[in-house]
Symmetry: D2
Subunit: 481 residues, 4 copies
């Protein structure tokens, strides 16, 4: 969840003027309007990038010195100063100044206070355009790693829950109508697959994020003999950007992260919906532990599945962030436009929403309890075995379409009589197809489950294997992580 | 712009447990999981509603006492206590506790510390479900008023700018190709119309927002002889909700506010695009004053229209909030679900984005300077009067389609010759239509402008009238506001 | 639902070239590339506007003649020719030609075949820019009228259903947990309110749609002595557009229609969700009639609520159209850009989706049957009267918060004992509060319903009145429609 | 572009009843309501899948026979019959019946007319739930291949255009303000990179699409000894789905396709914006050939970039489809719900929009002409070399921040004097920094370009290499395709 400062009054007061000069004040006659400063400042959002910004500056300064572009002693002063600045921010002692616009200028201005003129050499051979996207790519790489780790934990929770309820049978639903009996573990493994695809998508996104833009300058490259490959190595980037214009204007990696996050939240929203529906009094399959439910200020009996509801709702928020960035990018001419600044808030808020949702589900799932008796009763009641009756007739030689029609009429008859299948006599069965013989009376839920013995099917022996394979896949991931 | 606390480290640490009891703890065996508390707490967002919450509680308490539902002295204690709480929050002295979930429980718990048992009577005959939506409707009414006021100021700025540049002629564009000459004032008045429709939409939204839900209880109404009409009067609501179930689950007014805000931001984005394009070196019609431009950290010559770019980009953000709330509401069964909590962040952030954008444009517009000579030259150059030539032929009796075709060929000829219309001889004109006579050589921009003398057209006398009417409309609004 | 031609092979073959000349071919050396023709032609979409286009042209031609701008006999030929064209299209005999781009040029070219040179005078004093938006506004006015009529029919169906099930009691839900008993009629009336707000929003949209843009020309007005007011009267428009630049570039009315449609679909999606949930075997309150259910190709027992599911899903489609138009409009400079062409497909598809959804629900609702016994049992079971017990204690003088806590503990105790409230003895009640007295044993669902006797509450006498008022409101609307 | 049937009147008339029985009519007492049939039929959309549906059925039937589940002769009859059906559809002779709901039942019913009872065995061991998603995955694989091929053609066009204009220099822009000179080829290669990432994203999507769901039955697997691997081999799928519940409810591949399509359209919209801006009279860098421009019905001089405008606008449409499917999927409980039907229209329309846009740009780009002189003049004018002056000072030992400030003041001075850099004397330069020496006067655009000699930079030798590498990458792709 996105944490936010207290904001009881609308905090739109422009920052006080008269602070340190803008980096570009030489060319201007008049100071910036205060409303403009407030409107354009990004420091409240982009300060989250301070570690990445400092790491990037350190790598840049060292390279400049190695290449003879700035003096070695200036580079050393810069590195030392930046490390001090990082400590100040870590410790909450840093004097952030909104009138300095963004995290980059705040840090550079503070550096100048610490190391004097040397600081003025740091921005040689770079621009904020390549700097900010370097920072954001560094951050995104970490965010993806955090997300994948959280996905793996959630998959582990799903397996724990599935293994702890290995025998539980539930009615499978299509159209929220009871369709065919399932093992609960099979159902939970469906989510395992979804989160596996999510992790794969984030990994694909990582490959396209892991590209160093620094060295692209404002848009055209820089007129200095820089060593981009060395900077990439120091910062841990796999590749250099191929085109400086693209490098400063590309935010595909943000869109791709948000699209993967939206898809992942969509999966969570489906699981959340099932938690809500299954813990209703009417379904009653799922018992929410007190620690994961909340009550009502007015209705003393209530135990509500608020966590699931909020995850479901926050899915919309991540969709909104995706759309917001796509809209922002649409129709922008190359190269950098200030519009691009709006990528960060969407990224950060989507990450916070996704991670906190994954984490709270990973904690909640193992605590869920199932009412196996009730679920089994539901899976048995009614006509959930109708497909199995049709398949029974097929095995007796009846073409499927005829078998399906015969069982359809049988259901209509039984419903009219107020009877379940198990209450019908063989004679009643045979009224609808001569294919029915005495062994039809032996058909039950266990037989129906066991019969679906195909790859991916709900037969218990398949599910046992599937659980083992899933556990092994997960362990393999954690070994490689 | 949305202000946000420093968040250099991801602030997802759950709140410390062991605080005051939840309002519903009687029914629960186990305390809430800390991750759940962090995930479900809304206090960082909804504390913005404290004034509305306190006003609603005061009106509710007074009514309860008048109706004999709670003792008069308890109501007095409650009112006195709530006023103290309000002062504490106003003064930044209030001890917010995230473990109390939301603004309502924070205030009620603090009230209990101040006035003891009487506080326990405040929640009689209401639920958080009707309470929170009452607070949000009160807030939304104020937000709409602020928005309409900002729109009126922006319209005023447009008129100021139009009047200050009353003589400026620009090329009108379709497809970003020069089309026909226009008065700049006419062009600016197009935005006046857009913002006028925006204000009308917000007014329509206000009428549907101005409805008191309090008294609906959790969803079914309350079993007390309350006087809803009296509460509505005290809080300034025009109507009572008609159906308690609808009252607690309806968020149409949020969607409608967001849709109006999205449309208004879209209008701003069009104006922003024109500021960007017109202040390019190539167009050069518009000179951005230093106070409303920003520079570059690397390119010393740059003066960038960042305000316009950010407004354009933030349009996407408001679209995202609209989509986020629509997505959240889709498929929700009645009545209240926790999903609804997510309405507030979208509302507040959209309001902040919209208001700050309206305000910064209202300040920026009067400071813009136009290069009227350059604009006039552009309006005159090329073949911007081609339509007027066709219309000239029509007045000489040529059917429009033939006239259009003849002038099309004339343009092709002139282009091939590298000549503008004014450089063509009468003989050259007549090669394409015998309808051309000597007076065709008198056609110029001024004549073209003056000829469009229809309601809504660009003829100077029409625009003078339109400016006067617009000013009168605006003054009428400010008298009624 | 959007009907669409068979498209088994991808139909992207460009239209054959060599047809009639483009209206603007005079100025061009080379013919249009065929892929460009295919990409830019809008005739498959905009031909839906043919009646509006012809009506607009007839009114325009008559006015031109009355004002002496074209000869009277030409106007008569034009009107006669256009009426023939309309009959041809009505009868499916019209030779549509994609190479003519759009509905306007198809009709004008056909008119030229019928009436010769007079047709060439029709486009005097107008442009496609003002023509197309006039057509779309005419269409939108009719679409709004159709939508409001469909909403009124749906409201009528809701009332029919509510009146036919006047005695049915259901559990009211919050968080999909049983909360408090409700009258079903009360619940259905909540939707009546939603659709009422929808109708009001469409009415507000109509007022802003009912504006004539014709006479604005390409963007600047036209240099002819036209009579815009007369055209408005003939076409039934309430007002003239105030600013020609705005008139050709404004699509707010499309956005507003789509936003209202999205909100209305959201309401339908909530009703749809309840149809799905309530007709599940577990809830079982609702019995879907065969005529409104569909079966399964494989599971013979299934009766699925497909109509509700599709309406729920198609909500997303309308959201998509809203977003699509907002995105298209963002950042467009004035005045007309070809981008605006994309307004129509979104409008038409959203209208089709919305209207067909409203209509199928209006048919389905009266056919639904409720299992009143089962719903009553659910409303009675468990602890749905817990709030009433708390309120009972309040009436005995216990502060609400204490009462709530006592009942919370009582619920926990009863749950532990496996008992409902009605199975508890007075002594057991009094273990939790001395406020309980013998009359507590008389509390039941009927009493709980009757007690919520406040405006908007579920008390049967309130709901009887609400039904009568709703019926009268509906009748008043149909009298005025 | 999406082709659509003539729809002048709203075509919502329900299909005639009394046709062939539904596959599930055995269980139902009453026929389907006609409005329901019209609302639920998907045949207008899903008939596009007929080839995939028939291929899937043939592979399924053959496998059933090989496994002894149906008689060999029945399988042969089925295969023969399905091939006839395919020819009928190919030839436009197939009698589509909307009352049969969808492409699957239309084909199966027609098969029954052709081969009798054997047709009734085809649906053994499968459900429409696994059938439809198999069809859609087959289709999606082909759509991705088409898309990637179109992307490669577009990349080829970009390279052709870049190579044909190898010497052209343009001003590079940030904030639409002239920033630094660029080679046009460098700029065009930025788009080459974007479309390369797009192709990579579609390839990643393909890997997750290339999974066979058939054999999952309705949701639980099927009780027959089927051979899923053999079906996968025959249909060319790389993998089997791992979980039958997930297999029938997963539409991630649709979301992923739409997200990749949205991103790709966003790239096109940026290119489109530049076509629009650069072909304005004010920029004038780009001359649109007649074959790729359109004119005006009223303004004879106009040549409009409609293709670019429409591509820009249709970006919004694809965003809308993405949102629509994400919204549809949100909160759906497992497994299949009818909501999922709405995946196809979004997929098909997005594919049509994307493909036609890619194709028209691939044709248009090589036809564009550049006014190299005008572009060079723009790149030289003003203060585009200001960064180079600052970098010049840095090379003379001035710290970057001081150099930047000095040049900023120099620009302000020159602007005040109405002079460009080349009109300043050395003395004037030295007023702002003693670092300026005589060689500063030699700084020009060529030198500025050549100086940016870093990987990704605009130096001509870098761009020559980049063009060669890009061509080789493209050739390698076409060899592997």
């Amino acid at each position: 969840m996105v944490k936010r400062a207290p904001a009881p009054k609308r905090p739109r007061q422009p920052a006080a003027a008269g602070g340190p000069a803008k980096p570009w004040s030489g060319r201007f006659d008049a100071p910036t309007d205060q409303a403009v400063e407030a409107y354009t400042a990004s420091i409240d959002v982009d300060r989250r990038l301070y570690r990445q910004d400092i790491a990037g500056s350190i790598a840049h300064a060292r390279m400049l010195a190695r290449q003879g572009i700035i003096p070695q002693e200036d580079a050393e002063a810069i590195v030392r100063g930046l490390e001090e600045v990082r400590r100040e921010i870590d410790d909450g002692q840093f004097p952030w100044r909104p009138e300095l616009e963004d995290v980059h200028m705040n840090i550079e201005a503070r550096l100048a206070e610490k190391v004097g003129e040397a600081a003025g050499r740091l921005h040689t051979a770079r621009s904020r355009n390549d700097q900010v996207v370097t920072d954001l790519r560094l951050y995104a790489k970490e965010a993806i790693a955090r997300t994948v780790a959280a996905l793996r934990r959630l998959q582990g929770s799903l397996l724990d829950l599935a293994e702890a309820n290995r025998e539980v049978v539930i009615p499978g639903y299509t159209h929220l109508q009871r369709a065919q009996p399932l093992l609960l573990a099979h159902h939970l493994l469906a989510y395992f697959e979804m989160f596996d695809r999510d992790a794969a998508r984030f990994a694909d996104c990582l490959a396209r994020t892991d590209v160093l833009p620094l060295g692209s300058g404002a848009l055209a490259g820089v007129p200095y003999p820089i060593d981009r490959a060395a900077v990439a190595r120091e910062l841990g980037f796999a590749r250099l950007s191929e085109n400086s214009i693209d490098a400063v204007s590309d935010r595909d990696f943000v869109v791709e992260f948000l699209a993967a996050a939206a898809t992942c939240m969509m999966h969570l929203s489906r699981l959340a919906e099932e938690v809500v529906v299954w813990s209703s009094a009417e379904f009653g399959f799922l018992i929410l532990p007190d620690a994961f439910a909340t009550g009502s200020s007015i209705m003393p009996q209530k135990k509500n599945p608020d966590v699931a509801e909020l995850a479901r709702a926050r899915t919309g928020r991540v969709y909104g962030h995706l759309l917001s960035v796509l809209t922002m990018l649409k129709g922008q001419p190359l190269a950098y436009n200030r519009d691009l600044q709006e990528d960060k808030q969407a990224f950060f808020e989507a990450e916070d929403t996704l991670l906190s949702s994954l984490e709270v589900f990973a904690r909640m799932l193992p605590a869920l309890r199932f009412d196996g008796e009730r679920a089994l009763a539901a899976a048995t009641a009614g006509y959930a075995l109708a497909t199995d009756l049709a398949d029974y007739l097929v095995r007796k030689g009846v073409p499927f379409r005829q078998a399906h029609a015969a069982v359809g009429k049988l259901v209509r008859y039984a419903e009219g009589q107020g009877k379940g299948f198990s209450e019908l006599s063989l004679a009643e069965y045979r009224r609808f197809s001569k294919g029915f013989e005495a062994d039809v009376l032996k058909l039950d839920v266990r037989a129906a489950l066991a019969a679906r013995d195909v790859p991916g099917g709900t037969a218990p022996r398949r599910i046992r294997t599937a659980l083992r394979r899933a556990r092994r896949r997960l362990e393999a991931h954690s070994r490689h992580a």
